[in-house]
C-alpha cells in the first residue's frame, strides 16, 4: 500500500507455529458444504464462489430433515417456511455443525429468529462472491471455539463434582478410622490404584456405601 509507507522497518509477528496457515483454511479446501436454497441467481453465485474456493457443494430445496453424509457446514435460506414451521432436526442451537442462515431482511425480527434458531453466521441476499470466505471462516472459527469451550466446560463441571465427592469421602473415612484427611486421601488413592480405577470412582463407591451403612446413631 503505497499510501501508508511505514517509516520504520518492522519485524513480522513471530511465527508461533510451524504452519503459517490457519488449519481452518487448510480444512476448508475440500469441505463438504450443504446448501438449502431454491435454484436461482443467488444460489448460482453462492455455488460458483464456493467452487472457486475449492469446496464441495450439495444444493437442495426444500431442506431435508437429514443432512447429507459428510456435511461440514450448512448454508440455508432462512424463511418462515423453511425454518420455524418445519422443525428441521439439524436446525438447533446445539448443532455441532456450523450453520449459516441466508436472510432477506436485516431487521430485529429476522435477526432474532436467526440467532434463536442457532445460526452461527449469516449472509444477506442478494448474495455476492465478496465476503463469503470471511463469513465462512468466521463462522467455522467461532463454532469450533464454542465446541472447545463446551467440552472444557463439561470437563470442569465433572472435575468440580468429583472434587466434592472426594472431599466428602475423605471426611467420612477420616471420621470412621480416626485418621487425618491427608491419610484418608492416601487410603483412597491406594485403593484406586489397587482396583485400577480413578480416585473419583472409589470416592463415589464409598459414598454410596455410606448411604447403606448410615444409622441413626452416627454423628452428624
Amino acid at each position: 500500500m503505497a499510501d501508508t509507507p511505514a517509516t520504520a522497518q518492522r519485524a513480522a509477528k513471530p511465527a508461533s507455529s510451524q504452519r503459517s496457515t490457519l488449519e481452518l483454511f487448510r480444512h476448508l479446501r475440500h469441505a463438504c458444504i450443504t446448501i438449502f436454497h431454491p435454484e436461482d441467481q443467488n444460489r448460482e453465485v453462492l455455488i460458483q464462489q464456493l467452487h472457486r474456493i475449492g469446496c464441495q457443494t450439495v444444493a437442495l430445496w426444500p431442506p431435508t430433515p437429514q443432512l447429507p453424509a459428510d456435511t461440514e457446514l450448512v448454508i440455508f435460506l432462512l424463511d418462515a417456511e423453511a425454518s420455524a414451521k418445519k422443525k428441521l432436526p439439524w436446525l438447533t442451537p446445539d448443532s455441532a455443525i456450523p450453520l449459516i442462515g441466508v436472510l432477506d431482511y436485516e431487521n430485529p425480527t429476522t435477526l432474532e429468529t436467526a440467532t434463536a434458531l442457532g445460526c452461527h453466521g449469516m449472509l444477506v441476499r442478494p448474495l455476492q462472491a465478496k465476503g463469503l470466505l470471511s463469513t465462512i471462516i468466521l463462522t467455522m472459527h467461532h463454532c469450533q471455539q464454542l465446541k472447545t469451550l463446551r467440552k472444557r466446560n463439561q470437563r470442569l463441571e465433572e472435575k468440580l463434582q468429583a472434587a466434592g465427592e472426594i472431599s466428602a469421602a475423605q471426611a467420612m473415612l477420616a471420621h470412621a478410622r480416626g485418621i487425618s484427611a491427608t491419610e484418608a486421601y492416601k487410603v483412597l488413592r491406594e485403593q484406586a490404584m489397587l482396583k485400577r480405577v480413578t480416585v473419583e470412582d472409589i470416592a463415589r463407591a464409598l459414598l454410596q456405601t455410606d448411604g447403606l451403612l448410615a444409622n441413626p446413631a452416627k454423628h452428624r
Binding site: 500500500m1 509507507p5 503459517s20 496457515t21
Partner: protein, 388 residues
Amino acid sequence: MANTDPIPVGVLFSTSGATATIERSQAFATFFAIDEINAAGGIHGRELVPIHYDPQGMPQQYQLLAERMIRENGVNVIFGCYLSSTRKAVIPVVEKWRKLLFYPTPYEGFEFSPHVIYTGAAPNQNSAQLADYMTRHFGARVYMIGCDYIYPYESNRIMSDFILEVPGGKKLAERYVPLTATEKDFLAVVKDIKAKAPDFVFSTVVGQATQRLYQAYAELGMDAQQTPIASLTTSEAEVAEMGASAAHGHMTSAPYFKSIASAANQACIARFQQQYGPDIAPNMAWEAAYFQTQMFAEAMRAAGSDQYDVLLPHLLGREFEALQGRIAIDAGNHHTSLHPRIARVNASGQFEIIAGGSTAAVMPDPYLVTHPGASWNNLAQATEYRVG
C-alpha cells in the same frame, strides 16, 4: 450505415511514482497493442482510442481517475493497475458502473470480482514453482524480505507453507521495508541476511526499492551464485534499472521472459522497439498487458460491443496465442491459464530460462490455500528444468 465511431478505452497505469518503471511498460504494451489493432482495421472499422491518466501510484487517484474515465470519457473497459492496493481501489468503481477492469499483474490471489479479468500469475502459477525449484537446488532455509503491504504478506504466507512442507524447511526471518526504502534500509537487512546465512532469499520487494535491495546485496559481498534472491516480480524492467552486475545470478519465477526464443516473441519485441525505442524493457507485466488488450479486441469483434454484459461471455473461456504460449481465460474464476517459467539472470543482465515453459498451461487457482506436497513436487518433474 456502419458505425464508425471511435471506441474509447481506459489505460490506468502510473508513469510517475514508486512503480512508474514497471507500470510504464504496461501502459506502452497497451498502446502498442492498440496501435496494432487499429492498423489491422480496428474493431470492424472502428478505431480504439486510449484514454490515459497518470494516477501517480496513489490508490485514491486510481479510484478518482477510473470514475472520470467512465463518466467523462465513456469507457466501458479499463486496462490498468499494478499494486494490489490500486486494484482494490478501482474494483468498487467498475462494479458500481458495471464496467470491466483488465489487470495484467501477478498478485497474491484470494479475489474474485465479476468485473475483473486477471491476466497475471496467481500464486499457483509462480510461487509453487519457485518454492519447488529453490528448495531442490539451494535448500529450504529461507530469509524473507518484502515491502510493507498486502502482496508481500500474503505471498510470504503462501511461500512459508511451501517451504515448511519440505524436510528441514525453515523460515529464518520475515522482514518488511517501506515501498520508499533506501539503500541504507537494505544494508541493515543484508547484514542480517549475511549473519543468518540462509539457503536463499525470497524477495517481495517491488518498484523502485527493488534495485536498492539487489545493489546492497552485491555491495556487501553476498554471492548470488550461492545464495540467490528469488522473486516473483523482479523482471527485465527492474534488472535494467539495477544493472547487470547487481542482478547477475538472481532468480525470478514468471510466465514470460523477454528471452523466450520463439520467433513470434522475438518478432514482437522487434516491432515494439522499432516503435517505442529500447528504453522500455519487455517483461512479464508488459506481455500480460499486451495480450489482454489483443484478447479484448478479439472478444469485442465477436461480441459487437464492449458493454459488460455483451462482452463478458465472449471473454470467458477465450483462448489466445500469447508470446508465452497458448493461454485461456478461465470461465469460472476470471483468471488466466499460464505457462510458469523460472529464469536466472546471466552476466550480461539477460534472464536465462532454466525451468518450465511446457506446452501445457497451468490452470489458475486463485483461492489456493495450500498445495498438498505431492502435487507441487511432481509439477517440476513434468517439466524437469527443460531450457527453452
